[in-house]
Symmetry: C2
Subunit: 213 residues, 2 copies
Protein backbone atom coordinates (compact mmCIF):
# COMPACT_ATOMS: atom_id res chain seq x y z
CA UNK A 1 0.00 0.00 0.00
CA UNK A 2 1.18 3.48 -0.88
CA UNK A 3 1.47 5.79 2.13
CA UNK A 4 1.66 9.57 1.78
CA UNK A 5 1.97 12.07 4.61
CA UNK A 6 0.54 15.60 4.53
CA UNK A 7 4.07 16.89 3.80
CA UNK A 8 4.31 14.62 0.75
CA UNK A 9 0.81 15.66 -0.37
CA UNK A 10 1.87 19.32 -0.14
CA UNK A 11 4.85 18.60 -2.39
CA UNK A 12 2.79 16.95 -5.15
CA UNK A 13 2.42 18.93 -8.40
CA UNK A 14 -0.64 21.17 -8.06
CA UNK A 15 -2.88 19.52 -10.69
CA UNK A 16 -1.91 16.02 -9.58
CA UNK A 17 -2.77 16.92 -5.96
CA UNK A 18 -6.14 18.41 -6.96
CA UNK A 19 -7.08 15.26 -8.88
CA UNK A 20 -5.75 12.99 -6.13
CA UNK A 21 -7.47 14.70 -3.20
CA UNK A 22 -10.73 15.22 -5.06
CA UNK A 23 -11.05 11.54 -5.91
CA UNK A 24 -10.01 10.10 -2.57
CA UNK A 25 -13.04 10.89 -0.41
CA UNK A 26 -15.49 8.67 -2.30
CA UNK A 27 -18.28 8.94 -4.85
CA UNK A 28 -20.09 12.24 -4.64
CA UNK A 29 -23.56 13.71 -5.04
CA UNK A 30 -23.66 15.40 -8.40
CA UNK A 31 -26.21 18.13 -9.10
CA UNK A 32 -26.76 20.83 -11.67
CA UNK A 33 -27.37 23.99 -9.65
CA UNK A 34 -29.58 26.37 -11.63
CA UNK A 35 -30.07 30.04 -10.83
CA UNK A 36 -31.31 33.29 -12.32
CA UNK A 37 -29.81 36.75 -11.98
CA UNK A 38 -32.14 39.11 -10.14
CA UNK A 39 -30.73 42.09 -12.02
CA UNK A 40 -30.37 40.83 -15.61
CA UNK A 41 -32.68 37.79 -15.63
CA UNK A 42 -29.87 35.69 -17.15
CA UNK A 43 -30.05 32.02 -16.19
CA UNK A 44 -27.12 29.86 -15.16
CA UNK A 45 -26.26 26.19 -14.57
CA UNK A 46 -23.21 25.10 -12.57
CA UNK A 47 -22.18 21.55 -11.80
CA UNK A 48 -21.63 20.83 -8.10
CA UNK A 49 -20.15 17.69 -6.56
CA UNK A 50 -20.12 18.78 -2.93
CA UNK A 51 -23.80 18.42 -2.07
CA UNK A 52 -24.67 16.92 1.31
CA UNK A 53 -27.75 16.13 3.35
CA UNK A 54 -28.08 18.16 6.56
CA UNK A 55 -31.57 17.37 7.78
CA UNK A 56 -34.92 15.90 6.78
CA UNK A 57 -37.25 18.01 8.92
CA UNK A 58 -36.95 20.78 7.98
CA UNK A 59 -35.28 19.54 4.81
CA UNK A 60 -31.86 21.19 4.56
CA UNK A 61 -29.16 20.56 1.97
CA UNK A 62 -25.63 21.96 2.01
CA UNK A 63 -23.00 22.56 -0.65
CA UNK A 64 -19.46 23.87 -0.71
CA UNK A 65 -18.81 26.91 -2.88
CA UNK A 66 -15.40 28.24 -3.86
CA UNK A 67 -15.70 32.04 -4.20
CA UNK A 68 -13.11 32.24 -6.96
CA UNK A 69 -14.25 29.19 -8.90
CA UNK A 70 -16.63 28.95 -11.83
CA UNK A 71 -19.42 28.84 -9.25
CA UNK A 72 -18.98 32.59 -8.68
CA UNK A 73 -22.05 33.47 -10.78
CA UNK A 74 -24.11 30.86 -8.95
CA UNK A 75 -23.21 32.25 -5.53
CA UNK A 76 -24.00 35.79 -6.69
CA UNK A 77 -27.40 34.74 -8.02
CA UNK A 78 -28.23 32.76 -4.89
CA UNK A 79 -27.19 35.62 -2.61
CA UNK A 80 -29.22 38.17 -4.56
CA UNK A 81 -32.35 36.19 -5.35
CA UNK A 82 -32.40 33.81 -2.40
CA UNK A 83 -33.47 30.85 -4.56
CA UNK A 84 -31.89 28.02 -6.55
CA UNK A 85 -32.60 24.53 -7.81
CA UNK A 86 -30.77 21.18 -7.75
CA UNK A 87 -31.30 18.89 -10.71
CA UNK A 88 -29.99 15.34 -11.04
CA UNK A 89 -27.62 14.34 -13.85
CA UNK A 90 -28.82 11.38 -15.92
CA UNK A 91 -26.59 9.08 -17.94
CA UNK A 92 -28.33 10.26 -21.12
CA UNK A 93 -26.92 13.78 -20.77
CA UNK A 94 -23.90 13.61 -18.47
CA UNK A 95 -21.58 14.99 -21.16
CA UNK A 96 -23.80 18.04 -21.63
CA UNK A 97 -23.93 18.44 -17.84
CA UNK A 98 -20.12 18.34 -17.71
CA UNK A 99 -20.04 21.00 -20.40
CA UNK A 100 -21.96 23.42 -18.11
CA UNK A 101 -18.75 23.75 -16.09
CA UNK A 102 -17.02 25.55 -18.97
CA UNK A 103 -16.45 29.26 -18.33
CA UNK A 104 -19.03 30.87 -20.56
CA UNK A 105 -19.19 34.63 -20.93
CA UNK A 106 -21.21 36.46 -18.26
CA UNK A 107 -24.80 36.58 -19.40
CA UNK A 108 -24.48 33.57 -21.72
CA UNK A 109 -26.75 30.88 -20.31
CA UNK A 110 -25.52 27.30 -19.92
CA UNK A 111 -29.12 26.26 -20.61
CA UNK A 112 -28.89 27.38 -24.23
CA UNK A 113 -25.16 26.74 -24.67
CA UNK A 114 -25.36 23.13 -23.42
CA UNK A 115 -28.79 22.20 -24.73
CA UNK A 116 -30.96 22.19 -21.61
CA UNK A 117 -34.48 23.56 -21.29
CA UNK A 118 -35.68 25.87 -18.53
CA UNK A 119 -38.77 24.96 -16.57
CA UNK A 120 -40.53 27.02 -13.88
CA UNK A 121 -42.92 26.51 -11.00
CA UNK A 122 -45.42 29.29 -10.44
CA UNK A 123 -44.27 31.60 -7.67
CA UNK A 124 -40.72 30.20 -7.62
CA UNK A 125 -38.26 32.28 -9.58
CA UNK A 126 -35.28 29.93 -10.10
CA UNK A 127 -35.24 27.74 -13.22
CA UNK A 128 -35.41 23.94 -13.10
CA UNK A 129 -33.72 21.73 -15.69
CA UNK A 130 -36.52 20.11 -17.69
CA UNK A 131 -34.43 17.06 -18.64
CA UNK A 132 -33.78 16.03 -15.00
CA UNK A 133 -36.02 13.49 -13.25
CA UNK A 134 -35.33 14.50 -9.65
CA UNK A 135 -35.45 18.25 -8.95
CA UNK A 136 -35.39 20.36 -5.83
CA UNK A 137 -36.33 24.00 -5.38
CA UNK A 138 -34.44 25.60 -2.50
CA UNK A 139 -34.52 28.81 -0.52
CA UNK A 140 -31.23 30.13 0.84
CA UNK A 141 -31.09 29.81 4.64
CA UNK A 142 -27.48 30.48 5.56
CA UNK A 143 -24.01 30.98 4.11
CA UNK A 144 -21.34 29.72 6.50
CA UNK A 145 -17.78 30.92 5.80
CA UNK A 146 -15.05 28.33 6.25
CA UNK A 147 -12.19 30.54 7.30
CA UNK A 148 -9.70 27.65 7.02
CA UNK A 149 -9.54 27.96 3.24
CA UNK A 150 -11.91 30.76 2.24
CA UNK A 151 -14.68 28.51 0.94
CA UNK A 152 -18.33 28.75 1.98
CA UNK A 153 -21.06 26.34 2.83
CA UNK A 154 -24.40 27.33 1.34
CA UNK A 155 -27.38 25.83 3.16
CA UNK A 156 -30.81 25.81 1.58
CA UNK A 157 -34.25 24.65 2.68
CA UNK A 158 -36.12 22.45 0.23
CA UNK A 159 -39.36 24.23 -0.72
CA UNK A 160 -40.25 22.04 -3.70
CA UNK A 161 -39.58 18.46 -4.74
CA UNK A 162 -40.37 17.32 -8.28
CA UNK A 163 -39.74 13.66 -8.96
CA UNK A 164 -40.96 11.05 -11.44
CA UNK A 165 -43.70 9.29 -9.48
CA UNK A 166 -42.61 5.77 -10.49
CA UNK A 167 -39.25 6.30 -8.74
CA UNK A 168 -40.82 6.53 -5.27
CA UNK A 169 -41.01 3.29 -3.25
CA UNK A 170 -43.77 2.60 -0.72
CA UNK A 171 -41.55 3.69 2.18
CA UNK A 172 -40.42 6.96 0.57
CA UNK A 173 -37.16 5.71 -0.97
CA UNK A 174 -36.34 7.34 -4.30
CA UNK A 175 -34.73 4.94 -6.75
CA UNK A 176 -31.96 7.10 -8.24
CA UNK A 177 -30.38 4.16 -10.08
CA UNK A 178 -33.64 3.33 -11.88
CA UNK A 179 -33.60 6.81 -13.45
CA UNK A 180 -29.92 6.48 -14.43
CA UNK A 181 -28.72 9.13 -12.00
CA UNK A 182 -24.97 9.54 -12.35
CA UNK A 183 -22.44 9.89 -9.56
CA UNK A 184 -18.95 11.37 -9.86
CA UNK A 185 -15.55 10.47 -8.49
CA UNK A 186 -12.99 13.21 -8.43
CA UNK A 187 -13.69 16.11 -10.73
CA UNK A 188 -14.40 14.35 -13.99
CA UNK A 189 -15.06 10.60 -13.59
CA UNK A 190 -18.75 9.91 -14.18
CA UNK A 191 -20.20 6.59 -13.02
CA UNK A 192 -23.47 4.75 -13.42
CA UNK A 193 -24.61 2.67 -10.47
CA UNK A 194 -26.24 -0.66 -9.77
CA UNK A 195 -28.15 -1.48 -6.58
CA UNK A 196 -26.48 -4.16 -4.46
CA UNK A 197 -29.24 -4.13 -1.82
CA UNK A 198 -31.14 -2.02 0.63
CA UNK A 199 -30.45 -3.26 4.14
CA UNK A 200 -32.74 -3.21 7.16
CA UNK A 201 -32.03 -1.00 10.19
CA UNK A 202 -28.94 -2.42 11.89
CA UNK A 203 -29.30 -3.95 15.34
CA UNK A 204 -26.71 -5.68 17.52
CA UNK A 205 -26.77 -9.51 17.40
CA UNK A 206 -28.81 -9.51 14.18
CA UNK A 207 -27.74 -9.76 10.56
CA UNK A 208 -29.26 -7.03 8.37
CA UNK A 209 -31.95 -8.22 5.96
CA UNK A 210 -32.44 -7.07 2.39
CA UNK A 211 -35.36 -4.70 1.77
CA UNK A 212 -37.33 -5.00 -1.45
CA UNK A 213 -37.20 -1.90 -3.64
CA UNK B 1 -44.20 14.27 -12.26
CA UNK B 2 -45.01 14.29 -8.58
CA UNK B 3 -44.70 17.75 -6.99
CA UNK B 4 -44.47 18.23 -3.22
CA UNK B 5 -44.18 21.54 -1.40
CA UNK B 6 -42.36 22.03 1.89
CA UNK B 7 -45.75 22.03 3.66
CA UNK B 8 -46.56 18.63 2.17
CA UNK B 9 -43.08 17.33 3.08
CA UNK B 10 -43.66 18.45 6.68
CA UNK B 11 -46.92 16.49 6.77
CA UNK B 12 -45.34 13.21 5.60
CA UNK B 13 -45.06 10.44 8.22
CA UNK B 14 -41.75 10.86 10.01
CA UNK B 15 -39.97 7.68 8.78
CA UNK B 16 -41.24 8.15 5.23
CA UNK B 17 -39.96 11.74 5.22
CA UNK B 18 -36.54 10.67 6.55
CA UNK B 19 -36.17 8.03 3.83
CA UNK B 20 -37.50 10.38 1.15
CA UNK B 21 -35.31 13.37 1.98
CA UNK B 22 -32.20 11.28 2.57
CA UNK B 23 -32.43 9.63 -0.83
CA UNK B 24 -33.30 12.69 -2.89
CA UNK B 25 -30.00 14.58 -2.90
CA UNK B 26 -28.03 11.99 -4.86
CA UNK B 27 -25.50 9.23 -4.29
CA UNK B 28 -23.28 9.90 -1.33
CA UNK B 29 -19.72 9.40 -0.14
CA UNK B 30 -19.73 6.49 2.24
CA UNK B 31 -16.96 6.09 4.79
CA UNK B 32 -16.34 4.10 7.93
CA UNK B 33 -15.15 6.64 10.48
CA UNK B 34 -12.89 4.96 13.00
CA UNK B 35 -11.87 6.46 16.34
CA UNK B 36 -10.38 5.52 19.70
CA UNK B 37 -11.40 6.80 23.12
CA UNK B 38 -8.63 8.78 24.79
CA UNK B 39 -9.85 7.78 28.22
CA UNK B 40 -10.72 4.07 27.84
CA UNK B 41 -8.82 3.14 24.67
CA UNK B 42 -11.99 1.56 23.26
CA UNK B 43 -12.17 1.68 19.45
CA UNK B 44 -15.24 2.59 17.41
CA UNK B 45 -16.46 2.47 13.83
CA UNK B 46 -19.42 4.57 12.62
CA UNK B 47 -20.79 4.69 9.11
CA UNK B 48 -21.05 8.18 7.62
CA UNK B 49 -22.73 9.20 4.39
CA UNK B 50 -22.28 12.96 4.62
CA UNK B 51 -18.61 13.25 3.73
CA UNK B 52 -17.61 16.10 1.43
CA UNK B 53 -14.46 17.55 -0.10
CA UNK B 54 -13.58 21.05 1.11
CA UNK B 55 -10.11 21.63 -0.26
CA UNK B 56 -7.08 19.93 -1.80
CA UNK B 57 -4.31 22.20 -0.46
CA UNK B 58 -4.34 21.89 2.48
CA UNK B 59 -6.46 18.75 2.15
CA UNK B 60 -9.66 19.28 4.14
CA UNK B 61 -12.66 16.97 4.37
CA UNK B 62 -15.97 17.74 6.08
CA UNK B 63 -18.76 15.59 7.49
CA UNK B 64 -22.10 16.27 9.13
CA UNK B 65 -22.59 14.88 12.64
CA UNK B 66 -25.88 14.63 14.48
CA UNK B 67 -25.13 15.06 18.20
CA UNK B 68 -27.94 12.75 19.29
CA UNK B 69 -27.40 10.08 16.67
CA UNK B 70 -25.36 6.90 16.85
CA UNK B 71 -22.37 9.04 15.88
CA UNK B 72 -22.30 10.43 19.42
CA UNK B 73 -19.35 8.22 20.46
CA UNK B 74 -17.47 9.18 17.30
CA UNK B 75 -17.85 12.89 17.97
CA UNK B 76 -16.75 12.42 21.58
CA UNK B 77 -13.66 10.50 20.53
CA UNK B 78 -12.76 13.01 17.82
CA UNK B 79 -13.20 15.96 20.19
CA UNK B 80 -11.09 14.35 22.90
CA UNK B 81 -8.32 12.78 20.85
CA UNK B 82 -8.28 15.13 17.87
CA UNK B 83 -7.78 12.28 15.38
CA UNK B 84 -9.90 9.95 13.25
CA UNK B 85 -9.75 7.91 10.08
CA UNK B 86 -11.95 7.49 6.99
CA UNK B 87 -11.99 4.05 5.38
CA UNK B 88 -13.75 3.15 2.14
CA UNK B 89 -16.49 0.50 2.04
CA UNK B 90 -15.88 -2.28 -0.47
CA UNK B 91 -18.54 -4.45 -2.04
CA UNK B 92 -16.99 -7.51 -0.35
CA UNK B 93 -17.93 -6.23 3.12
CA UNK B 94 -20.71 -3.67 2.74
CA UNK B 95 -23.10 -5.72 4.91
CA UNK B 96 -20.57 -5.79 7.76
CA UNK B 97 -20.03 -2.05 7.27
CA UNK B 98 -23.79 -1.46 7.52
CA UNK B 99 -23.80 -3.50 10.72
CA UNK B 100 -21.38 -1.02 12.34
CA UNK B 101 -24.32 1.42 12.53
CA UNK B 102 -26.10 -0.78 15.10
CA UNK B 103 -26.13 0.69 18.60
CA UNK B 104 -23.62 -1.45 20.40
CA UNK B 105 -23.04 -1.03 24.12
CA UNK B 106 -20.57 1.69 25.09
CA UNK B 107 -17.11 0.17 25.12
CA UNK B 108 -18.02 -2.68 22.75
CA UNK B 109 -15.96 -2.15 19.61
CA UNK B 110 -17.56 -2.38 16.18
CA UNK B 111 -14.21 -3.71 14.96
CA UNK B 112 -14.65 -6.97 16.89
CA UNK B 113 -18.47 -7.07 16.73
CA UNK B 114 -18.59 -6.65 12.93
CA UNK B 115 -15.44 -8.52 11.98
CA UNK B 116 -13.00 -5.77 11.07
CA UNK B 117 -9.31 -5.60 11.98
CA UNK B 118 -7.57 -2.59 13.49
CA UNK B 119 -4.44 -1.26 11.86
CA UNK B 120 -2.19 1.56 13.09
CA UNK B 121 0.37 3.96 11.70
CA UNK B 122 3.24 4.77 14.03
CA UNK B 123 2.66 8.09 15.76
CA UNK B 124 -1.01 8.30 14.73
CA UNK B 125 -3.38 7.14 17.43
CA UNK B 126 -6.66 6.51 15.56
CA UNK B 127 -7.27 3.03 14.13
CA UNK B 128 -7.55 2.32 10.41
CA UNK B 129 -9.75 -0.46 9.01
CA UNK B 130 -7.37 -3.09 7.63
CA UNK B 131 -9.90 -4.40 5.09
CA UNK B 132 -10.31 -1.02 3.33
CA UNK B 133 -8.25 -0.14 0.27
CA UNK B 134 -8.45 3.67 0.50
CA UNK B 135 -7.81 5.12 3.97
CA UNK B 136 -7.30 8.60 5.32
CA UNK B 137 -5.89 9.69 8.67
CA UNK B 138 -7.27 13.06 9.75
CA UNK B 139 -6.61 15.65 12.40
CA UNK B 140 -9.56 17.65 13.69
CA UNK B 141 -9.36 21.28 12.55
CA UNK B 142 -12.76 22.76 13.35
CA UNK B 143 -16.26 21.87 14.49
CA UNK B 144 -18.82 24.26 13.01
CA UNK B 145 -22.24 24.28 14.67
CA UNK B 146 -25.23 24.48 12.32
CA UNK B 147 -27.68 26.33 14.51
CA UNK B 148 -30.52 25.75 12.03
CA UNK B 149 -30.99 22.17 13.21
CA UNK B 150 -28.41 21.50 15.90
CA UNK B 151 -26.08 19.43 13.73
CA UNK B 152 -22.36 20.04 13.38
CA UNK B 153 -19.86 20.01 10.58
CA UNK B 154 -16.60 18.37 11.55
CA UNK B 155 -13.66 19.46 9.40
CA UNK B 156 -10.43 17.51 9.40
CA UNK B 157 -7.09 17.89 7.68
CA UNK B 158 -5.72 14.83 5.91
CA UNK B 159 -2.41 13.88 7.54
CA UNK B 160 -2.09 10.42 5.99
CA UNK B 161 -3.28 8.74 2.81
CA UNK B 162 -3.00 4.96 2.42
CA UNK B 163 -4.14 3.60 -0.91
CA UNK B 164 -3.48 0.51 -2.98
CA UNK B 165 -0.80 1.68 -5.40
CA UNK B 166 -2.40 0.10 -8.48
CA UNK B 167 -5.49 2.33 -8.04
CA UNK B 168 -3.57 5.55 -8.75
CA UNK B 169 -3.57 6.79 -12.35
CA UNK B 170 -0.69 8.76 -13.86
CA UNK B 171 -2.46 12.09 -13.25
CA UNK B 172 -3.34 11.35 -9.60
CA UNK B 173 -6.86 10.00 -10.15
CA UNK B 174 -7.80 7.22 -7.74
CA UNK B 175 -9.92 4.52 -9.34
CA UNK B 176 -12.54 3.88 -6.67
CA UNK B 177 -14.64 1.67 -8.94
CA UNK B 178 -11.69 -0.66 -9.67
CA UNK B 179 -11.46 -1.42 -5.96
CA UNK B 180 -15.23 -2.01 -5.68
CA UNK B 181 -15.86 1.05 -3.54
CA UNK B 182 -19.55 1.26 -2.70
CA UNK B 183 -21.75 4.37 -2.74
CA UNK B 184 -25.02 4.80 -0.88
CA UNK B 185 -28.37 6.36 -1.74
CA UNK B 186 -30.54 7.32 1.16
CA UNK B 187 -29.72 5.61 4.43
CA UNK B 188 -29.57 2.00 3.38
CA UNK B 189 -29.33 1.51 -0.41
CA UNK B 190 -25.82 0.34 -1.31
CA UNK B 191 -24.69 0.57 -4.93
CA UNK B 192 -21.73 -0.60 -6.95
CA UNK B 193 -20.56 1.68 -9.74
CA UNK B 194 -19.29 1.46 -13.27
CA UNK B 195 -17.19 4.12 -14.98
CA UNK B 196 -18.95 5.82 -17.89
CA UNK B 197 -15.97 8.05 -18.73
CA UNK B 198 -13.59 10.62 -17.42
CA UNK B 199 -14.09 13.86 -19.33
CA UNK B 200 -11.53 16.52 -20.19
CA UNK B 201 -11.66 20.02 -18.67
CA UNK B 202 -14.72 21.75 -20.12
CA UNK B 203 -14.22 24.74 -22.41
CA UNK B 204 -16.77 26.80 -24.32
CA UNK B 205 -17.19 25.86 -28.01
CA UNK B 206 -15.50 22.49 -27.49
CA UNK B 207 -16.93 19.05 -26.81
CA UNK B 208 -15.32 17.31 -23.85
CA UNK B 209 -13.05 14.39 -24.70
CA UNK B 210 -12.76 11.12 -22.83
CA UNK B 211 -9.64 10.67 -20.70
CA UNK B 212 -8.05 7.24 -20.45
CA UNK B 213 -8.01 5.79 -16.94
Amino acid sequence: MKHLTSEQITELPSRYRTTFMNSISGFKSLQMVATKSKTTGATNIALFNSIFHIGANPAYIGMVVRPDGPEHETLKNISESGFYTLNNVKEEFYKAAHQTSARYKAGESEFAACGFLEEYLEGFDAPFVKESSVKLGLKLKEIIPITLNNTRIVIGEVLHVCVDENLISADGYINLAATNTVTVAGLDAYHSTQLLARLSYAQPEKHPEEINV
